[in-house]
């Protein structure tokens, strides 16, 4: 068990180092940091002095190491555009993205699994056909189009829900939440649906096909032959086996939700890190871009690690162990 965790952890660290290298190269070579700080008409002497002050004249590996050690301490430099520490800006924007991702992730997971199980069990029911058809729309329409359609129907035509922003928020420590006000919750609905719809359909289709697969296995047949109730068979035996492979994909999907938030945040002008990143690209605000890259990578790697551990907890076959007694039959 401990060896397994350590191995996975080491892999995660290696991935992070690789991403950090990309972020570093971007940070160091994309645009010209000196020009960005001093402006076009600085003298050569000024530039040289700045180079030395920032340590940009040192050998590359040293600079890379320096970049990493500062990143670990949460220091990603100063935003060119906002002239504030990048970590401060990101921390300010992170709660908005995390709240949005959590709501859409939860929605995608709960609805995806329920619909998946339902359509597998009632394969020929009319409701299953409706759900499958609608889900086809969910996977085939691009996210921004779904967002715009939702805005058009629910914000413009019906006027039920706001079309942009987070509504009123309340500050709790450094965390700014939209969960505690009515306008905050209302503002969350459309972006959350937009962001979660694709993942929901994906999870649903995955659960459905896995479940159909599991229902055909011998142990389900044997469970029937033992006279177990269909409830015990479907939800005890079949669903648990279905969820084993689903966990992996779902974990990756939750990571993807945070990464895809960029589009949704742009459509709904949601003040999260995704929107921050888009604006950073527009202004070639390289420190913000590389910090965002690292943040997304960290989230992916963490989720992956959790998924592996969960997998391990659910599936006894992964817990390597020798059969206790030698075969006596």
């Amino acid at each position: 068990m401990i060896a397994f965790v350590l191995r996975r952890f080491a892999q995660a660290v290696i991935v992070m180092l690789a991403v950090a290298l990309v972020a570093f190269v971007m940070f160091r070579f994309m645009g010209d940091p000196i020009t960005n700080l001093l402006g076009q008409d600085a003298t050569v002497a000024d530039r040289q002095a700045m180079m030395e002050r920032l340590g940009l004249d040192r050998p590359m590996p040293v600079q890379y190491f320096d970049f990493i050690s500062r990143a670990v301490q949460g220091d990603f430099g100063i935003s060119y555009r906002m002239a504030r520490p990048v970590s401060e800006v990101i921390l300010e924007r992170l709660p908005a993205t995390l709240e949005l991702a959590a709501v859409s992730g939860l929605m995608a997971l709960l609805l995806g699994v329920s619909f998946g199980v339902y359509t597998a069990l009632r394969r020929d029911g009319w409701l299953s056909h409706v759900i499958m058809t609608v889900s086809l729309i969910g996977v085939s329409l691009p996210t921004f189009l779904i967002g715009i359609l939702l805005i058009w129907v629910f914000a413009v035509e019906l006027g039920w829900l706001p079309s942009f922003g987070r509504g009123e928020t309340i500050q709790i420590g450094w965390w700014r939440t939209g969960f505690l006000t009515e306008s905050g919750l209302k503002s969350l609905i459309l972006p959350a649906i937009t962001l979660g719809l694709f993942q929901m359909t994906l999870i649903m289709r995955l659960v459905r096909s896995e479940m159909l697969e599991v229902l055909r296995t011998d142990y389900i047949r044997f469970a029937r032959a033992r006279g177990l109730s269909s409830r015990a068979i479907n939800f005890g035996h079949a669903l648990k086996n279905t969820l084993v492979p689903v966990i992996t994909i779902t974990g990756l999907q939750l990571g993807a939700i945070i990464a895809f938030a960029i589009i949704t945040e742009t459509v709904f002008q949601w003040p999260g890190v995704g929107l921050l990143f888009i604006n950073a690209i527009k202004f070639v605000d390289v420190p913000v871009m590389s910090a965002y890259l690292l943040l997304i990578a960290l989230i992916f790697v963490t989720i992956n690690l959790i998924v592996d551990l969960l997998y391990y907890a659910v599936d006894p076959r992964l817990r390597v162990e020798r059969p206790k007694a030698a075969d006596t039959t």
Partner: protein, 324 residues
């Protein structure tokens, strides 16, 4: 005479397909008495498994029972509503499948699966069910059953798992156990032990056995009676000794001749040429006639019924006049 435990009457299992209906089990009838071991043999595709599945009501769609009836203890069970049939499965009829490696749910411990089955059919407390589970594991020869209750299937070997499967089939003391090739997937060295165990434990629990197998040798040692199936029909059924010693149907004769341990008793040794017809090309008359060394005109036109011939019954025109 007492009423048989199981009566199968004119059972028919069919698969509707685009090119017409395929008949996998064609109008078969037989009985199993209480505590009796009935062997069922036949080539691959003869309809042995389908017969077993039909009895326990587990034919996968689009397959269906196309006719006939199945009676258990005098009560019809082939047309029961699903909730009633569920009480028959496991409680009245237990089942042992071919592959113990895939018969057990990999995510639950042996104990959980046993206790769940016991509590589905018997109103027992958790501790009483647990006690029964340990007893059952002990009966099927799992050493240190108490500690092995918490093991997962992957921690058991194939032979051990089939013992667990037998324990599961017997968990609620059924009156009949259908064992569909219970040893085919096992290592040769453990096959005999598992068959002996199946026979002994079923006898102890008073359960009759329908033993489906390819292996005539196993039947010779285990069964009381044997039914020989060919192309969805029973071609011969009778006491094991009788069928082995003096097979009535030419197909049975061929089958016996192909078993080395039995064939030395035979003076006529012959090989059956050809193979069993596909379901969509079953010949008219006797399905065996294209391969039969004794074929004559009537075999090609009229389908023979099972008729008494000595202690056995055979479906062959050679014995049609043999009625007594």
């Amino acid at each position: 005479m007492t009423e048989p435990l199981l009566q199968v009457r004119n059972l028919r299992v069919e698969f509707p397909t685009r090119h017409g209906t395929l008949v996998a089990v064609d109008d078969i009838s037989f009985d199993i008495a209480k505590g009796e071991v009935l062997g069922v043999v036949g080539e691959s595709g003869a309809g042995k498994s389908m017969t077993g599945s039909a009895i326990i009501g587990l034919i996968d769609p689009p397959g269906r029972i196309g006719g006939g009836e199945v009676l258990l203890e005098g009560r019809r069970i082939d047309n029961l509503p699903p909730s009633e049939m569920r009480k028959v499965r496991g409680r009245k009829i237990g089942m042992v499948f071919q592959d113990p490696l895939t018969s057990l749910n990999p995510l639950y411990t042996i104990g959980e699966q046993l206790i769940e089955t016991i509590q589905t059919h018997m109103a027992l407390s958790d501790s009483a069910a647990r006690k029964r589970a340990i007893e059952l594991l002990g009966e099927v020869g799992i050493p240190a059953p108490e500690s092995r209750l918490n093991s997962y299937p992957h921690q058991y070997s194939g032979g051990m798992r089939q013992r667990v499967v037998i324990a599961l089939a017997l968990a609620a003391d059924p009156a009949l156990v259908i064992a569909d090739e219970p040893t085919t997937a096992l290592d040769v060295s453990v096959q005999a032990q598992i068959i002996a165990l199946l026979k002994r434990t079923c006898a102890e629990h008073g359960a009759a056995v329908m033993l489906i197998t390819h292996d005539m040798g196993v039947i010779a040692e285990t069964a009381d009676r044997v039914a020989v199936m060919y192309a969805g029909r029973i071609v011969e059924i009778g006491p094991v000794r009788e069928v082995i010693k003096s097979a009535r149907h030419p197909y049975t004769e061929g089958l016996m001749a192909s078993i080395p341990s039995l064939s030395h008793e035979q003076d006529r040794l012959f090989q059956i040429d050809g193979s069993m017809p596909r379901l969509n090309a079953i010949p008219p008359g006797c399905a065996f006639h294209p391969r039969c060394p004794h074929v004559f005109a009537r075999c090609r036109e009229e389908r023979p019924e099972l008729v008494q011939s000595g202690a056995s019954r055979a479906a062959c025109w050679l014995h049609a006049g043999d009625r007594r």
